[in-house]
């Protein structure tokens, strides 16, 4: 079935959207201020997972070049200044680049990782400010249930 095929090949998107909607529902409908913030955290985490899953490639590894790609230890380095470090001849940067061969499909796409570093930080910052506001509200109103706070505002008028 087409639906089954859509589900299995793109299951990652389905999962993340469902988690996002759970978070969004908590943000809108819960009465307790802290529960809303937990919903916000779930929502933002699902967005982060969504982005990272875009950059996955079949059979790839982390987006860092292999050690022996950037420090070729044997073969075509013909510096005679062998300082006795074993195979560490310190070839120059140009030589390494000239002999470098990188297969793009070996490495995961680095761009979503970079974007999500930023998004994680922004999420933490917003959560921190939200919790500080919640603490101040508790200090001022004595409750963190939204309906109780609105009642106390109405009765204080």
């Amino acid at each position: 079935m087409e639906l089954l095929e859509a589900l299995s090949a793109k299951f990652n998107y389905w999962i993340y959207v469902i988690i996002m909607m759970i978070g969004l529902y908590a943000m809108i409908s819960k009465n307790n201020l802290v529960k809303k913030l937990i919903g916000m955290s779930i929502f933002q985490t699902a967005i982060i997972l969504f982005y990272v899953s875009i950059g996955v490639k079949e059979g790839d590894t982390i987006p860092i070049l292999y050690h022996d790609q950037v420090h070729p230890s044997h073969g075509d380095s013909h510096h005679e200044a062998d300082t006795g470090h074993g195979e560490d001849h310190h070839p120059s940067h140009e030589e390494i680049v000239a002999n470098l061969h990188i297969e793009p499909d070996d490495f995961a796409n680095p761009l979503p990782h970079v974007l999500m570093l930023t998004a994680i930080v922004v999420g933490v910052a917003t959560l921190g400010v939200g919790l500080a506001l919640t603490q101040k509200i508790y200090r001022d109103f004595g409750s963190i249930e939204e309906n109780e706070i609105l009642e106390s505002i109405k009765s204080a008028k």
């Binding site: 490639k57 860092i64 070049l65 790609q69 761009l111």
Partner: protein, 252 residues
């Protein structure tokens, strides 16, 4: 309210999923995002252009360094915001001038205290390693800064807030955070003063003993150190403000 929320959530979910049939499959190497010249350039040209093997750090600190600077500012803003919302001077009768008092917490538990005393220096050493090796292994300024800040939080948890504040009193925290961002923008302004654009590290080879490409690598390390300073300071500041409810006297 709940039924309205449910309808809104279902509608949004349906909207988001309606495009899924158009998306590339999981793990597709030919997808537009993976195939486009942007990612290809980042994967193949990072090492020739910046001599840094870790592509994520290179993109973060060099190609999109402007974005990262503002990310650091976000952390800084969060710290200042929480401080400005919550912080209050303790009431007069609770103020003890000039006396380091530990009367707010019971005596530290022996097992926890000993374990943390052994762990904390190792955690800090590891944090420094993560910052310094951001070019060659997963790591960088944010990660290392958070780990370092966590070591202070561990100290505050195992003993009490005063013990941790002897290492990072409030004034020093703010200074550290500000100096971190000044280091980052200092690199940028140095580039501007030497005649190039903001954050164009290549021009810094005139004041560094390195080739233009290596100057990029060294500047990346410099800005990552700035980011680590800010992260450390603000992590601890957020913890101390939230946990002590603004008083800075006692925590959980």
């Amino acid at each position: 309210m709940k039924s309205f929320a449910l309808i809104a959530v279902v509608l949004t979910g349906w909207l988001l999923l309606s495009a899924v049939s158009d998306f590339p499959d999981w793990g597709d190497t030919e997808s537009p995002a993976n195939d486009y010249r942007l990612s290809q350039h980042y994967i193949t040209e990072t090492f020739p252009e910046t001599s840094v093997p870790n592509m994520v750090t290179a993109v973060l600190a060099d190609y999109r360094g402007y974005d990262t600077m503002f990310e650091t500012v976000v952390i800084f803003v969060a710290g200042i915001a929480i401080m400005s919302i919550l912080r209050r001077k303790p009431l007069d009768h609770l103020k003890d001038k000039g006396k380091e008092t530990r009367t707010y917490k019971k005596d530290p538990d022996l097992i926890i205290d000993t374990t943390c005393r052994l762990m904390i220096p190792i955690i800090q050493l590891f944090a420094l390693y993560v910052v310094a090796h951001g070019h060659h292994s997963p790591g960088g300024g944010f990660q290392g800064g958070v780990i370092f800040g966590a070591s202070f939080i561990l100290l505050a948890l195992s003993r009490d807030l005063q013990a941790a504040q002897r290492w990072v009193p409030e004034k020093r925290v703010l200074n550290l955070a500000g100096i971190g961002i000044l280091i980052y923008s200092g690199f940028g302004f140095a580039c501007m003063l030497l005649g190039s654009n903001f954050l164009d590290y290549e021009i810094l080879h005139k004041i560094m003993p390195a080739t233009p490409i290596e100057a990029r690598s060294h500047s990346m390390l410099g800005v990552e150190i700035g980011v680590a300073f800010t992260c450390t300071a603000i992590m601890f500041s957020i913890y101390s403000n939230l946990a002590s409810n603004g008083d800075m006297k006692e925590t959980l």
